[in-house]
């Protein structure tokens, strides 16, 4: 019964949403701003005809060019952590070696960033990876990991400065035991 009923006309707001109001016809006095391409084909045609400008449609880049471009972009991404190193190093130096909430948080971020980056390495480069540059991408990824390792090293340096690395004898003192004397002596008051 319900199927026989014709579907009700869509409400006004649905129609407004699906068909936006036509852009107001511009007076021909104002050209479009440079670089603006109207999606309206009429207008494109009109501007073309009115300007008479000859603009060839840009040739799509070849796959080789695309690969080179992507590789370039990938290298940029891979070396980005290294560029942050000096900044981080200065920040770490400035915060000092005391155990305070700020320095602890900064050190935590310092560790969290590189580790997360290395874990997400596939995702980061997935867009840029193609069949053609797969070999080169290995190099890029290695560089990325290396740069992040540098950042980690900075963090370790900082943690060491804060005295949190068990590198000295005193850190293992609790596991050392006193020597047991084989003989025992007792004082007996006379």
């Amino acid at each position: 019964m319900a199927s026989q009923m014709p579907p009700p006309p869509p409400p006004q707001w649905v129609r407004d949403l699906t068909s936006p109001p036509p852009s107001k016809a511009k007076s021909g006095a104002f050209p479009d701003p440079p670089g603006y391409t109207s999606s309206n084909p009429q207008q494109v045609a009109r501007s073309k005809s009115s300007k008479n400008a000859v603009s060839q449609p840009r040739e799509p880049p070849s796959t080789y060019e695309m690969d080179t471009l992507k590789l370039k972009k990938a290298w940029e991404l891979a070396l980005a952590p290294a560029k942050q190193l000096p900044m981080n190093a200065i920040g770490m130096y400035m915060t000092g070696n005391s155990l305070q909430i700020f320095s602890i948080m900064m050190v935590f971020m310092l560790f969290k960033g590189p580790i997360q980056a290395v874990l997400n390495i596939q995702g980061t480069f997935a867009r840029l990876e193609t069949e053609g540059n797969k070999q080169n991408m290995l190099m890029v990824k290695a560089a990325f990991v290396g740069c992040n390792c540098l950042a980690l090293a900075l963090g370790i340096w900082k943690v060491n400065g804060m005295g949190l690395l068990p590198t000295t004898r005193s850190d293992w003192l609790a596991w050392e035991t006193a020597r047991e004397p084989l003989e025992r002596a007792y004082f007996v008051p006379s």
């Binding site: 004898r169 005193s170 050392e176 047991e180 004397p181 003989e183 025992r184 002596a185 007792y186 007996v188």
Partner: protein, 930 residues
């Protein structure tokens, strides 16, 4: 840069704080004791003639003269007469003139007058000989109210003499010297004459009593006679009494068998003789005479006979006209021991008799009972079924008509407690026996010990067994659940308001309520609660000591068992620490690991060590001091001395390893001829000297004390003035290391065990000397459960009557000398060495209290790591709790529980109020367009 500074400030702060204001008077307790009062030198007296209230004055067995407020038992004032306690055997005298505001004491050879109200010294005179008697002259020379009454004092020794001293200034008015030969015995003064009683030894060995009568104005001898005491008097012990300062003084004596009583009124030659009839077939053990001490009161006196099982008394009247004494009436024989006291009211004399369950007052004139009270409870702690016997009493009473309206009786009991009874109700009790503690020890109450034992079982059995055990234990604990729930609101309120319920030993989760068992000089064991002040847990007789016997027991504890060793044969008795019940068995002496064992003892000035294991028993080594040297004392390292860290962490995080050997001992010797003192650190297995130091120019009269703990030792001595230095008290601290090179464990390196016999390693010792402003007479060190907490050296300063807790960081021998500490040293908490240690007022554990005559300080760990329990004894008792590194594992009293709960509550309310608001806002942001 800021970090080391901060650390340094932290450490300075840490050393500066020892006693918190909210802990003073709260965690510490103090018994200001006098010692057991003596019968002849205890009385009620008005501190000045105008005051109505009187104080109880006493000169105790321990050489204290003091006044006690009869209202609450607090000490109004006290003065220690003999700073040197070893000479406390001499008898003392304490006299108060009627209507005088000073009291006069005689002790040793010193006569001193004290202001009765506040105990200020009025004057003191040295008599150049042991005092035999001190009396106050109550002369009837017409000068009434002419200020202080004069004092006559009799001194014995090489040149026996009687001296009259001015009551106001102590100046000698006259002196009468006796020829040598006769022993001077006592003085007696009537209103007109001064009598000196001398004992003349006859050829046969008997004693005759010589009486010299002196003119009180110029001290000249007016008459002399000898009493025909025949041959009853074999020794001076059987002279019962020389009545002094009464209207008519008497001399009374008996024979050795207590069969006859002879009485002479001094000034007459007649001797009245009375046969003592035996009642109930028992021989009379003791006869005492109680007479009023006022010249204005009636000349009646009471003779008290005591046998082993019963006692009775006769009341005598002196007939002046005929110069004879006669029995007025008798008080009936009552079984058990009793005591009598004399009180006066105007001229009337009253006698108060106290037995184990009754208090009876009679007038001296007739036998009618003026007042009778039944004593139910004396308010003192004693062993179950123990008969508490009154030893001696003083009483003060007021009479209205024919009955006593009120009576206050201060009675010394056989338990060593001094109790004041108002009528028959105990008002206060002072545990005076605790002024004479010969030995003391800490013990753990059984409740805690049981719990610890159960936990031990669980850790040592297998997994399933331990689980079952735990379930069973928890089911058993359900029995206590109702009582726990019912006490919950009370606990909550008390915890919330900060009023902690002291005294509950079972709910002591911090281990503060340890048991301190003390052996007192009267042969008893008394147990105190270390966690709550003024609480005696139990008290029982350990041995029956005679009046002049002493004992030197050794007390030790193994968990909740007290072991008492006494006598030359070292007979052992064991007691339960919680309730004092004697236990049948004798525990193993050394339940420690097997292996070679060495025992060392100090005998005849030589230190001897013998091996006690069966394999090769025999003498191992002995330490004989050099010629002219004598051993002062030996301090072994405590057997229970846990050390948390075996090394010291330096500022650069390297480690300096401590030389830890549980078999160390510190020996101090002195050379009287060269005035030098030597200190040796000995390895008691081999007898080798690990460290020694000698100091010349030492004042050997001053105290020398020492301590050995962990890997460090300390000793103090007083150096005499010399050309190079001035007189001063020195404190030397030495610390021993395995090696002075960091990260180096010496020759043995990582070996897990060692034998000094085979390896013979020696420590590297750093020593530093400090000057202290006071002489240290005794040292102790705080102990905590695991030894993590930093330590404090507890030093008894006998000159200022105080105990100070010196933080070890202030004594560290590694403090840099003559230079500022480097960054690393600052990190470690070291600060520049200064030769003088000034005792910070905050270090004084006793703060405002005055702790007199402390002889020993004991420390014991509590269950929580931060706290050490301290107990000091001697004349006074003082105890406290110490947290040398702050109370890091317990909330302090300053923690505001109310604020915390209020904050939580406010946050909860806020959450409930705000939650709907936030919800509405979140919905609105989705749906509303602005």
């Amino acid at each position: 840069m800021r970090l080391p500074l901060f650390a340094a400030v932290c450490i300075l702060l840490r050393t500066a704080v020892a006693v918190f204001a909210d802990e003073a008077w709260n965690v510490d307790y103090h018994y200001a004791l006098l010692g057991e009062p003596q019968e002849e030198t205890t009385f009620f007296h008005q501190p000045n003639p105008t005051s109505k209230a009187s104080l109880i004055y006493t000169l105790s067995k321990r050489g204290f003269v003091g006044a006690v407020n009869p209202r609450d038992g607090s000490v109004v004032w006290r003065q220690l007469l003999s700073p040197n306690l070893t000479s406390s055997t001499s008898q003392g005298f304490l006299r108060a003139g009627e209507g005088q505001d000073t009291i006069v004491s005689g002790y040793g050879s010193q006569v001193a007058a004290w202001s009765a109200a506040d105990g200020r010294l009025a004057w003191t005179v040295d008599m150049h000989g042991p005092l035999k008697d001190v009396e106050i002259l109550e002369l009837s020379d017409g000068k009434i109210g002419s200020g202080a009454k004069d004092v006559v004092a009799l001194s014995g020794g090489g040149s026996p003499a009687v001296q009259r001293l001015d009551g106001a200034s102590g100046a000698v008015k006259w002196q009468h010297k006796f020829q040598e030969g006769d022993e001077v015995y006592q003085l007696s003064a009537s209103t007109t004459e001064v009598f000196a009683i001398l004992l003349h030894k006859t050829v046969l060995g008997y004693i005759k009593i010589r009486v010299l009568s002196l003119d009180p104005v110029n001290g000249r001898k007016t008459s002399e006679y000898t009493l025909s005491s025949e041959n009853e008097l074999a020794s001076a012990d059987t002279i019962i009494s020389v009545g002094a300062n009464s209207a008519s003084p008497i001399v009374a004596w008996t024979d050795a068998a207590h069969s006859v009583l002879k009485i002479n009124i001094i000034g007459t030659k007649t001797v009245s003789s009375y046969n003592i009839e035996k009642q109930g077939g028992q021989t009379v053990e003791n006869i005492r005479i109680h007479a009023p001490y006022h010249t204005t009161s009636l000349s009646h006196f009471l003779v008290h006979y005591q046998t082993a099982t019963s006692h009775w008394a006769d009341i005598y009247h002196i007939n002046f006209a005929r110069s004879i004494t006669q029995i007025a009436y008798s008080l009936p024989n009552i079984s058990g021991k009793g005591s009598f006291s004399t009180s006066t009211s105007d001229a009337n004399v009253y006698f108060t008799r106290i037995t184990q369950d009754e208090l009876i007052t009679v007038s001296s004139a007739s036998h009618g009972v003026l007042g009778r009270w039944t004593i139910d409870n004396l308010g003192v702690v004693s062993a179950p079924h123990e008969a508490i016997v009154p030893t001696h009493t003083v009483s003060e009473l007021s009479v209205k008509g024919d009955s006593v309206s009120a009576i206050r009786t201060a009675v010394l009991l056989s338990t060593g407690d001094w109790v004041l009874l108002r009528d028959s109700k105990p008002v206060w009790a002072r545990p005076e026996a605790l002024a004479d503690i010969t030995s003391a020890t800490f013990a753990t109450p059984s409740v805690l010990e049981d719990f610890q034992h159960k936990l031990d079982v669980e850790t040592h059995s297998n997994f399933v067994g331990a689980y079952l055990h735990r379930v069973k234990r928890h089911l058993e604990e359900l029995k206590h659940f109702p009582s726990y729930m019912s006490s919950m609101p009370q606990r909550f309120i008390s915890g919330f308001l900060g009023t902690t319920d002291e005294g509950a030993m079972a709910s002591d989760s911090f281990g503060f309520h340890k048991v301190i068992v003390c052996a007192t000089g009267n042969g008893r064991l008394v147990a105190l609660d270390a966690g709550s002040a003024n609480r005696i847990l139990w008290s029982r007789t350990a041995v029956d000591l005679g009046s002049s016997e002493t004992w030197q027991p050794g007390l030790s504890s193994r968990a909740d068992v007290i072991v008492l060793e006494q006598g030359s044969g070292k007979s052992q008795q064991t007691f339960n620490a919680t309730n004092g019940d004697p236990l049948p068995g004798i525990p193993d002496t050394h339940d420690l690991q097997a292996g070679p064992r060495v025992q060392y003892t100090l005998r005849d000035g030589v230190l001897e060590a013998t091996r006690t294991d069966k394999a090769n028993a025999g003498s191992v080594w002995h330490f004989t001091p050099m010629d002219g040297e004598r051993i002062l004392h030996l301090v072994p390292r405590p057997s229970n001395d846990p050390v948390a860290s075996i090394g010291k962490v330096l500022g650069d995080r390297r480690v300096l390893y401590k030389y830890l050997d549980s078999n160390l001992a510190l020996l101090a010797t002195a050379n009287d001829a060269s005035k030098s003192a030597q200190f040796y650190v000995l390895d008691t297995i081999t007898g080798s000297i690990l460290h020694s130091s000698a100091h010349s120019g030492v004042d050997l009269q001053a105290p020398i004390s020492s301590i050995l703990s962990e890997n460090w030792f300390a000793y103090s001595y007083t150096a005499e003035a010399s050309d190079a230095s001035t007189k001063g008290h020195h404190l030397v601290v030495g610390e021993m290391f395995e090696s002075l090179v960091p990260n180096d464990r010496g020759v043995l390196d990582a070996a897990t065990n060692f034998s000094t016999v085979q390896s013979g390693t020696e420590p590297f010792t750093l020593v530093q000397t400090y000057q202290t402003p006071e002489a240290i007479s005794k040292m102790a060190v705080t102990q905590t459960r695991q030894g993590i907490t930093s330590r404090q050296l507890l030093a008894v300063l006998s000159d200022v009557e105080a105990i100070v807790g010196i933080p070890y960081s202030a004594l560290d021998p590694r403090r840099p000398v003559d230079r500022a500490p480097t960054k690393d040293e600052q990190m470690e908490g070291l600060f520049q060495y200064a030769p003088v240690i000034e005792f910070d007022p905050k270090w004084f554990l006793n703060h405002q209290r005055e702790v007199l005559g402390i002889e020993n300080v004991l420390t014991s760990p509590a269950l929580i790591e931060s706290t050490s329990i301290v107990f000091a004894y001697g004349l006074d008792i003082f105890g406290t709790r110490l947290s040398p590194s702050f109370s890091f594992d317990i909330l302090g009293k300053d923690f505001n529980k109310f604020q915390m709960l209020a904050t939580v509550a406010a946050l909860a309310v806020l959450t409930f109020v705000v939650a709907p608001l936030v919800m509405r806002k979140q919905v609105n942001t989705r749906w509303q367009f602005t």
